[in-house]
Symmetry: C2
Subunit: 202 residues, 2 copies
């Protein structure tokens, strides 16, 4: 398998973390999104949506969308439950992550790290940060009664949510206000085979 | 089963359409999101993220996120393939829908139907419309070589993408520029058991 990825991407880190925990070897191809390398004609043949990560599962067979890749790789492992209701919960939290969490936590982080903010973008940043705090609040509420997000065990739902939550401070978020989230981050870090998101934690 | 929903919601329509095609009976509870009914303390016990649709699969067992609900209901039906690679493709397109499509096509539609636009919001609308046209372009490219989104058959991935694509004109999009998308919309409408999104097509 080959992973097209950008090392500072939390969405890519999800895949690298699961691969490590599965003991799965793969080729790694760095795609510098800041240089437009995910929008070249060659790359668009792999993922017409022009985004990383993108998994080449077999030569010429490409899969995009980090959370779809997680589910594909985790099938038949303990990281994706067989129980129908637990699987539904995993997907619920993964769609929550992509709709309510990632656009409002990862995007502020990206803007603060890689772009100049004019007054219009500063207003958009603050609007996103408000929605990001709401998403962290939903997680805090859930974690006040549960150790993990689905089925009371560590799954790909936790991996999906961990990726950008653990670097939320880089997007201007204060995790001090979310003690349950902080305790859960620690539980995730303590899982066997955990690896850090090197670039982000350097 | 009971569905908490808002009749003008495309995300809710996804569930109503699949329920009809499965021949599944359910109770329907209208939640008027314009009156804040999805943010009451009572509703937040059902979905702490304060959104519809929300499925009460059994008394007291709630599932949120339209695409997670689709996968849960479609399990063991022809609308969700068993093949591992085809399932991965279904999820890829569903995550595409929630990340790249819905926020840029459904949100402009909602703003144009239900809100007043100041100059700041007008600029945001136009930025979203540009991203929405990019998402429609990705669909057009895929549909130039495939009849449906996953496994060459109609699945929940098509239902997820149909919901807001077929009312994209209400968000300011001209589908005349996407003939493959238009032909696919027709194929979806011709599926057995298809029902319209009543409020939107009135």
């Amino acid at each position: 398998m080959r992973l097209y990825d950008y090392s500072d991407s939390g969405n890519g880190y999800k895949i690298r973390l699961l691969m490590a925990q599965l003991g799965q070897n793969y080729d790694y191809v760095e795609v510098d999104i800041l240089k437009g390398e995910s929008r070249t004609a060659d790359f668009l043949k792999r993922n017409p949506n022009g985004r990383v990560p993108c998994l080449e599962a077999e030569p010429g067979k490409f899969l995009a969308e980090s959370n779809a890749i997680l589910c594909y790789l985790a099938e038949d492992s303990k990281y994706l439950p067989q129980d129908k209701w637990q699987r539904a919960q995993v997907l619920q939290w993964m769609f929550f992550e992509q709709y309510s969490h990632e656009p409002n936590i990862a995007t502020p982080r990206f803007w603060l790290r890689h772009t100049e903010l004019d007054s219009h973008k500063q207003a958009m940043l603050e609007a996103k940060q408000e929605l990001g705090r709401a998403a962290l609040g939903v997680m805090e509420t859930h974690l006040s009664e549960h150790a993990f997000f689905a089925g009371e065990a560590y799954t790909v739902a936790d991996i999906a949510l961990y990726a950008y939550t653990h670097v939320a401070h880089q997007g201007g978020f204060d995790l001090g206000a979310y003690p349950q989230v902080q305790a859960w981050l620690k539980r995730v870090r303590e899982q066997p085979g955990h690896i850090p998101m090197a670039a982000a934690e350097a």
